[in-house]
Amino acid sequence: MEASAQIYHNVIMDRFRSPRSAGRPENFDAEAEGNNPMCGDRIHLYFGREGARVSHESEGCAIMIASAELMADAVAGKTPAQIRDLRADFESVVTTGAENPALGDLNALANISEYRSRIRCATLPWATLGLALKEAE
């Protein structure tokens, strides 16, 4: 695909089309609702303390849904403190565009830094996870 579609590469489109962490789980310890009032993206996020499991029910764009998916992979097994650090590192990647080798697949969203109005789509799941973590404490 041409430059115009750079952000919509395989990892993003794959996770958007075939989400693996979507849906309401049977057991969870906290849940939180996130939305972007400016554009209407919505995510309902479930958090299970054991193994830091994240699931989501999302209505929104490919970037937001792929970001929620990659986030669920990235935080699995992490402690709340590690997740908070990861969120800060991720936000740095998507705002600066500089990839961080420690973040693995999350770097798939680094390009979003060039699409300023879309950064908030990528960060919405993380902000919502922040709310769920607070509730889980």
């Binding site: 695909m1 430059a3 115009s4 579609a5 952000i7 919509y8 489109m13 400016m38 554009c39 209407g40 993206d41 919505r42 209505e59 929104g60 764009c61 490919a62 970037i63 699409y115 879309r118 789509c121």
Partner: protein
């Protein structure tokens, strides 16, 4: 249309040269600007009028006794006459300058709503209102005990008169506040019929003309509108200037909106008395340059003429509906019989934001989201749409570029 205005032939190439920004490149492509319903681009005449004022004719208005202030006041007040003529208002004193359409509606809700409407009275709005014509009435309801009712629209996106009858049945409705043209569906509402309907039942009517004023000749006396609001920036003028038209006797019955300079008759430490309309509603130094810019925009539009603008935009809209309908998986929202150059659509498998981003990378600017009409999105069963909107400078080729761009979106998301 006044006979004194000499109409020019509709020369699209010449019109486009009047808008310097249309030469811009975005992401290495010529800008295809299909977001004029959010805010329109500005012709050279508007830019020049504002620059001329700043360079040669600027001071505060209504205050100075000096030459510069007098001349600036003249230029500023001349725009009130232009707006009165544009709307065919009975008097220039029926034209209030505000910041935008939103402020105009808030002004009515705050003053007419609190002073004239009584607790227990009802206000009716439609399902397809912009937030600007919904939220101020919710605030009035919560502060003042006025009931807010919502009239349904049909699946085609037209006002449902059966629902309207039901909402008015108990005789408590005192104000019907509806859009003249939906910013999402492109529907024109039958404003003369709505005004007659409201008046026969003892209610006033407020029309949100932010979209309609750009595309059609509006005659507030022929419509028999009690209130008509619009903003300058969609009418090829600058942002920061809006208009509230209201019938003289209604304005005279309304208390001030904001207090301050320019809106008083006399002031003592104990009390103040109010100026007559329209100045009663224009506290503080107004948007002088923006008002002058709006005057130039009105001159510009009237020189081209609404019949020519409407004919051009009708051609654009018909073409757009035809070419977009050929794209499989694309759904155009609304199918009102009387509709204008605002087309909202969804595409199977692709969210509106993704559509907008992919189009943007091809230099095509559309809007995506809920268009400040979140409840309407729910009514239509969508969370967001993409929207292409047309202006007098839009070309058929730009609509074809949109269609080609959407086919690329399908390639990514198909």
């Amino acid at each position: 249309m006044s006979a004194s205005i000499k109409l020019q032939p509709f020369d699209l190439a010449a019109i486009r040269r009047d808008f310097p920004i249309l030469e811009s490149q975005v992401h290495g492509r010529r800008l295809v600007f299909l977001d004029s319903a959010a805010s329109a681009q500005k012709p050279r005449a508007v830019i020049d009028a504002m620059v001329f004022a700043m360079e040669h004719q600027y001071a505060n208005v209504h205050r100075g006794l000096h030459w510069m202030s007098e001349r600036t006041s003249d230029a500023y007040e001349a725009v009130r006459d232009k707006v009165a003529k544009l709307l065919n208002a009975a008097s220039r004193d029926e034209i209030v300058f505000t910041r935008n359409g939103t402020e105009s509606i808030n002004l009515v809700a705050y003053t007419y709503g609190r002073a004239i409407l009584q607790p227990g009275d009802a206000v009716v709005v439609s399902e397809m209102e912009h937030h600007a014509n919904l939220v101020p009435w919710q605030m009035l309801r919560d502060a003042h005990g006025v009931e807010l009712r919502i009239v349904k629209i049909t699946d085609a996106g037209e006002v449902d008169f059966n629902s309207l009858e039901e909402q008015f049945a108990d005789g408590r409705v005192k104000l019907l506040a509806v859009t003249h043209m939906s910013n999402v569906l492109g529907t024109y509402t039958p404003v003369e019929r709505l005004a007659k309907f409201a008046h026969e039942r003892g209610a006033k009517i407020l029309l949100d003309g932010c979209q309609a004023i750009v595309h059609r000749q509006v005659d507030v006396q022929a419509i028999d509108a009690d209130f008509y609001v619009f903003s300058g920036h969609k009418l090829y003028g600058p942002s920061g200037i809006g208009i509230l038209y209201a019938k003289r006797e209604i304005l005279e019955s309304m208390p001030p909106f904001m207090g301050g300079g320019d809106m008083i008759s006399s002031v003592s430490y104990e009390r103040s008395t109010w100026a007559k309309p329209p100045h009663r509603f224009e506290a503080g130094t107004p948007a002088i340059l923006e008002t002058i810019g709006l005057g130039a925009a009105i001159d510009y539009v009237e020189a081209i003429g609404f019949p020519a603008i409407a004919a051009h935009e009708r051609e654009l809209t018909e073409h757009a509906i035809a070419v977009l309908s050929e794209i499989s998986g694309l759904r155009i929202l609304g199918s009102a019989q009387d509709r204008g150059g605002v087309i909202s659509f969804t595409m199977e498998g692709a969210h509106a934001h993704d559509i907008a981003t992919l189009l943007d990378r091809q230099g095509i600017a559309v809007r995506a989201g809920h268009h400040c009409a979140e409840p309407l999105m729910g009514r239509l069963g969508v969370t967001a749409t993409a929207r292409a909107s047309f202006a007098l400078y839009t070309t058929i080729e730009e609509i074809d570029a949109l269609a080609a761009g959407l086919i690329r979106v399908k390639q990514v998301f198909g």
